[in-house]
């Protein structure tokens, strides 16, 4: 307890000193940006790049003079991928640290556990998690930056349809991401008149998915296979798929859209397709693409600062932070209601993930076109349309 108090005192002192240096005339109270992320634990591949992105851009914004002449202060906690601790840390951010806005929630479970509290406390919240339930139905104080899993399912199934596929084999993880993706895929398939003929799952503790894939292979009529999941699971699925010599068109979700997936899956990933934000193929974007510059800059800055590859997930945090900053600037204050309204009315913000056009009925603001279809060719991501 004492230690916390001392740390807090130190933190205050540092902030105070920074404030004094920056502007001596008016005392600039920092704008507090709160974040709870899965920095360690099974979803750390989300939380880790997200935190790095937030830290680096908060620093950068402060060097450039802050927002509304006030410095930003980032307060972040690690929820270890556990929904209960996510909720507790959200509460700590709101009730103890009294933050002005929250940008965080790496997983859907963590986000949804915090939502009832955030709605009650009336603090603007930008989630970095994917499932469609986060913003559908619209919740007054909740926004999100990643495309929803429903859009991913639509994008993938449309691409399958273009290739003449109507019968799908589905393999999904039993975790939050895979499970929600599975539900969306089943719904979208029905709407598009496609049929999911095989539907199998694997749990987070599985280390070999050959049995499930054999089941799909032996199901009559399967024309393409889709794997919805994240973490190391899809990489194992991809390798087992190649070992079994399966040659049907193979799709992954945006949950594996990072270079580390390619490293894990190796040559087995050849030919597979997935929907992703353009971050993985910044140089193949046409010059007139409005996202090209944003994407290239983010990639260059992140890789220079952290000496590791960028991932789509860090980009969610980038967009979340930039949307927050823009909303605060437009609101002219950190008044929660004003910031929330500004967020809701952001139009034409070009981010790394896509172009955001928020509205009172759409707290995500992206459309399915923001996903690019990529194919792995010669061990690299390639834009196919």
């Amino acid at each position: 307890m004492l230690k916390i108090m001392m740390r807090r005192a130190r933190k205050c002192a540092v902030v105070a000193a920074a404030g004094l240096m920056m502007m001596s005339a008016q005392a600039a109270e920092p704008i507090k940006i709160g974040s709870f992320l899965s920095i360690t634990g099974p979803a750390s591949f989300l939380g880790d790049p997200e935190l790095k992105t937030l830290e680096m851009y908060v620093e950068k914004i402060n060097e450039e003079g802050g927002v509304l002449g006030r410095p930003l202060e980032l307060i972040h906690y690690d929820d270890v991928g556990n929904a209960s601790s996510a909720r507790n840390f959200a509460s700590r951010l709101i009730r103890s640290d009294r933050v002005d806005i929250i940008v965080g929630g790496s997983t859907t479970g963590a986000t949804m556990a915090a939502v009832p509290l955030i709605e009650q406390a009336q603090v603007p919240f930008i989630s970095l998690a994917g499932a469609v339930v986060i913003t559908t139905p619209v919740k007054k104080w909740v926004f999100k930056t990643p495309q929803s899993d429903r859009m991913a399912a639509e994008r993938i199934l449309t691409d399958m349809k273009d290739r003449g596929v109507s019968k799908i084999g589905l393999i999904s993880g039993t975790g939050g991401f895979g499970s929600s993706g599975r539900t969306q895929t089943l719904e979208v398939a029905e709407q598009m008149g496609m049929e999911v003929v095989a539907d199998v799952t694997y749990s987070g503790s599985d280390t070999d998915m050959t049995a499930q894939l054999t089941n799909i292979r032996n199901t009559k009529g399967v024309e393409a296979v889709l794997n919805f999941g994240f973490g190391q699971g899809p990489a194992i699925v991809t390798r087992n798929y190649a070992q079994l010599g399966m040659e049907l068109p193979f799709y992954q979700s945006h949950g594996v859209a990072s270079d580390s997936f390619l490293e894990l899956a190796g040559s087995s990933a050849e030919g597979l397709r997935l929907p992703a934000s353009p971050l993985l193929v910044p140089d193949s974007l046409p010059d007139n693409d409005p996202q090209k510059e944003v994407v290239q800059n983010y990639k260059a800055e992140y890789e220079a600062r952290w000496d590791s590859k960028v991932s789509t997930f860090g980009a969610y945090a980038y967009d979340g932070l930039m949307l927050a900053v823009r909303a605060i600037e437009e609101a002219g204050s950190t008044d929660p209601e004003a910031v929330r309204e500004a967020l809701e009315n952001i139009k034409g913000y070009v981010g790394v993930t896509g172009e955001f056009n928020m509205s009172p009925d759409d707290h995500n603001g992206l459309d399915a076109d923001s996903f690019r279809m990529l194919e792995v060719q010669n061990g690299e991501w390639n834009l196919i349309n």
């Binding site: 360690t40 634990g41 099974p42 750390s44 591949f45 880790d48 039993t174 199998v200 799952t201 694997y202 749990s203 987070g204 503790s205 280390t207 070999d208 050959t210 049995a211 499930q212 054999t214 089941n215 032996n218 190391q232 990489a235 194992i236 070992q243 079994l244 010599g245 580390s260 490293e263 894990l264 190796g266």
Partner: protein, 291 residues
């Protein structure tokens, strides 16, 4: 049909062999001290991660494997010397909590040293799979099975032919009597931890090309190993091997034929079934309670 069945069998046996090696580690320590060593999975992780990071530094594979196994062995000894031995008067349950603390600690250190990413380890031999009656067998599976068999044979020889092995066996049967005939029980306990660390790390290394490896792989595989040991009747070597293989095969068959959603539930129901109907486990030791 045969091809399908064989495919499930191959998958099940491969992963089951890994479970068996981990279960053996649990059994060894349990027999020597009645402690369920929740840090068993971390030995596995140390084996895989140390090998990967050493080869990445340019150390030849064979040398890296040996060094990783030695590292795990040292860790096993350290765990017993520094964490278990000092808590002399502690209850068994307290010792179990100490191993939980140790596993969290080791995992935390591994995360600091090696980071949070998953890592790839290349197959020991060819990466081309082998075709058998229409089913596909990963060449690494043969390594897992072969190494597993060698370890089991080595263990049997160790316990029946060497003095140290016999001393461990004697201690697990009757601690006081063993002490009377001059066996240093602390020493025996230390050996048990070392041997099960060696077993765990070897399992972690041979299975890494199939499962990938990361700082937290021990949580997943360690628990499955414990389940296997429980099915086999904690405390029996044969039980551990059979329990491991049974668990692997049941998992694969359930995933293939019945329901992939509930395959883990089926595995856990096996524990209940065994306890209800074969209370000593499949090969559980006969327990004589001393008054």
């Amino acid at each position: 049909m045969l091809a399908e069945f064989l495919q499930y069998l191959f998958t099940g046996i491969t992963i089951g062999a890994t479970y068996a090696l981990i279960a053996l580690g649990f059994t060894l320590i349990y027999n020597a001290s009645h402690v369920i060593n929740f840090a068993q999975g971390e030995f596995l992780m140390i084996g895989g991660m140390a090998t990967v990071s050493l080869t990445a530094m340019g150390v030849p594979m064979a040398v890296a494997v040996v060094l990783a196994v030695i590292l795990a062995g040292v860790l096993g000894i350290a765990l017993q010397r520094l964490a278990i031995a000092p808590a002399k008067q502690a209850d068994v349950v307290t010792l179990i909590i100490i191993t939980i603390g140790a596993s969290i600690f080791i995992r935390g250190i591994a995360q600091l040293v090696w980071g949070k990413q998953y890592h790839v380890m290349q197959n020991f031999s060819t990466s081309e799979p082998i075709q058998v009656f229409g089913a596909v067998l990963n060449s690494q599976s043969l390594w897992v099975l072969g190494v597993g068999a060698v370890m089991v044979v080595a263990l049997v020889l160790f316990f029946t032919k060497t003095l140290i092995g016999k001393a461990i066996l004697a201690t697990s049967m009757n601690k006081d009597a063993a002490r009377l005939v001059g066996i240093r029980t602390q020493m025996v306990l230390m050996l048990a931890f070392m041997v099960s660390a060696l077993l765990g790390s070897v399992a972690g290394i041979v299975v890494a090309p199939i499962t990938f490896t990361s700082y937290d792989i021990g949580i997943i595989l360690g628990l499955k190993g414990f389940v296997a040991a429980a099915i086999g009747g904690l405390g029996s070597g044969v039980g551990a091997v059979v329990g491991g293989l049974a668990l692997g095969i049941v998992e694969a068959m359930t995933a293939g034929y019945i329901s992939s959603d509930y395959k883990d539930a089926v595995a856990f129901s096996m524990i209940l079934l065994v306890l209800f109907f074969m209370p000593r486990g499949l090969f559980g030791a006969k327990i004589v309670e001393r008054v």
